[in-house]
């Protein structure tokens, strides 16, 4: 099947600004006449409700079950939503793709080959941009926006047993994730964009990478 659309993936840990940037990116593309569709983890009609309704339970699942549920979720969206959109020429902006579920479970000791295999025949992204910020900066953002009480067990990596103190565990866990994301970017030549600067600056940095990928789809101004 010929893919006429584009798949643009923003990756990075929680709190790095991914979701906000994915939204702004979609808006900018649509403003330029490019039809977009969205993808996000745990948003499938098949199991998102079950994942949300049981999110506590989900994180209590073993790593393999969790990985397979995320794979099911992704495949449901790919089959019913992403692939049809790509075939119809849409630009799909993915707020994370297969990389986060793979990284999250591989830091917990699940075989990377096995995890990669679950996504082996998924559509190939046209570009993957890894958003990056330091663990402490991300912690500050979480504290400022959601409050420290929102530091949850799984998102803080409490299950890794590094520390019983959520903030300490969080920073440790973010370091592990950050290293994995950097390694991923290096191995695949994915660009890394720091979200350290202003929101607008970061957006422009992202756009620099996106524009060449979608340039033929942009409706040129006639003025």
């Amino acid at each position: 099947m010929k893919i006429s659309g584009r798949l643009i993936v923003l990756e990075g840990p929680d709190g790095v600004g991914r979701t906000s940037h994915a939204r702004l990116l979609s808006q900018r593309l649509e403003a330029q006449g490019v039809a977009t569709a969205n993808f996000g983890l745990a948003r499938s009609a098949l199991i998102s409700e079950h994942i949300e309704a049981n999110s506590g339970q989900l994180h209590n699942f073993g790593p393999r079950t969790r990985a397979l549920l995320y794979a099911t979720d992704m495949w449901d969206q790919v089959v019913h939503h992403i692939q049809p959109a790509l075939d119809a020429g849409f630009v799909v902006v993915a707020d994370r793709f297969s990389f986060t579920p793979i990284i999250r479970e591989s830091v917990r000791g699940t075989s990377k080959d096995w995890l990669n295999g679950l996504y082996a025949s998924a559509p190939d992204p046209d570009i993957v941009i890894v958003l990056d910020a330091g663990p402490r900066r991300i912690l500050h953002r979480v504290i400022y926006t959601d409050g420290i009480a929102e530091l949850k067990g799984y998102e803080s990596g409490m299950d890794l047993g590094h520390s019983n103190i959520p903030t300490v565990s969080f920073i440790h866990y973010q370091k592990l994730l950050r290293n994995k994301f950097k390694q991923l970017a290096k191995e695949n030549s994915f660009p890394i964009v720091s979200t350290k600067g202003t929101f607008e600056y970061t957006h422009e940095e992202i756009w620099k990478h996106v524009e060449p990928v979608v340039t033929d789809l942009i409706v040129k101004s006639t003025s």
């Binding site: 009609a45 073993g62 549920l69 495949w75 096995w114």
Partner: protein, 260 residues
């Protein structure tokens, strides 16, 4: 040096076969036998993880499942049972009886066009059982058993999702035929032991017990002492499910969850 701790190996036995092959009835009888011997035994059925099962049920009801998601969601269900039931009991040297194992995925997902290597890879965390019994039954026998038990065939059960034909029975036969072929190859490769399931229940069970006695060394299993079994037996009496063996000799009230 001998450790007092359980070896950790445990014994894993699986039953496989087409719908209506009688494997669930036989698995149930097998579990009862092992329990009577005092073995720490656990019985787990395909598609029975509490949370995953509810999602699978939704997906089937809405006819939303396609071969890929059918594959992954059943694997998630299995993984959950592997991580919470099968592996934990094996780790302390217990006996686990699986009513359907990864060979079911190979047959069902394979019949739906999922690549064999893909299926093996997804399930690679689960080792092959110490013994897998494949209940081989003539197509007419299994079909008549299935058709007697229920008014009509369900959408995925009959493979209607594949769009092969509009006739559920024809579709069901085609799916079963493909599964039989895959099962046959797996059995021929030596990963499953064939059992003639065209016989009566007691006769089949006799053969099952013989094969197990011949090929599985139960002497390493630490039996639960009689006094420690009492609470368990009491508990079990409360949860015993109603079963009825019809004159034709098959279970009418199915205790398995099986395919919806």
């Amino acid at each position: 040096m001998k450790s007092k701790e359980p070896s950790g190996a445990g014994i894993l036995i699986a039953v496989e076969g087409l719908d209506g092959s009688g494997k669930s009835t036989q698995a149930h009888l097998l579990v009862q036998w092992l329990r009577a011997l005092g073995a720490p035994v656990h019985h787990t059925e395909w598609n029975s993880s509490p949370m995953v099962k509810s999602a699978t049920k939704e997906g089937k009801k809405n006819q939303r499942l396609v071969p890929e998601t059918f594959h992954y969601i059943h694997a998630a269900d299995f993984a959950d049972r592997w991580e919470r039931q099968i592996q934990p009991l094996l780790a302390v040297g217990g006996v686990v009886i699986c009513d359907r194992y990864k060979f079911t995925a190979m047959a069902r997902d394979g019949a739906r066009g999922i690549n064999k290597e893909r299926i093996e890879m997804t399930y690679s965390f689960a080792r092959d059982p110490d013994l897998t019994l494949y209940f081989e039954v003539d197509p007419e026998v299994s079909l008549s058993r299935i058709m007697k038990g229920r008014p009509n065939l369900k959408y995925y059960e009959s493979g209607m999702d594949m769009g092969w034909t509009d006739d559920p029975i024809e579709s069901y036969k085609k799916l079963q035929g493909r599964m039989r072929e895959i099962y046959g190859k797996i059995a021929d490769s030596g990963r499953m032991v064939k059992i003639d399931s065209n016989l009566g229940i007691a006769e089949i069970q006799k053969n099952v017990r013989k094969i197990i006695s011949d090929s599985i060394d139960l002497s390493n299993v630490t039996l639960i002492e009689a006094d420690d079994r009492r609470a368990e037996i009491h508990h079990y009496d409360d949860s015993t499910r109603m079963r009825y063996i019809s004159p034709e000799g098959y279970t009418v009230l199915r205790h398995g969850v099986d395919e919806d």
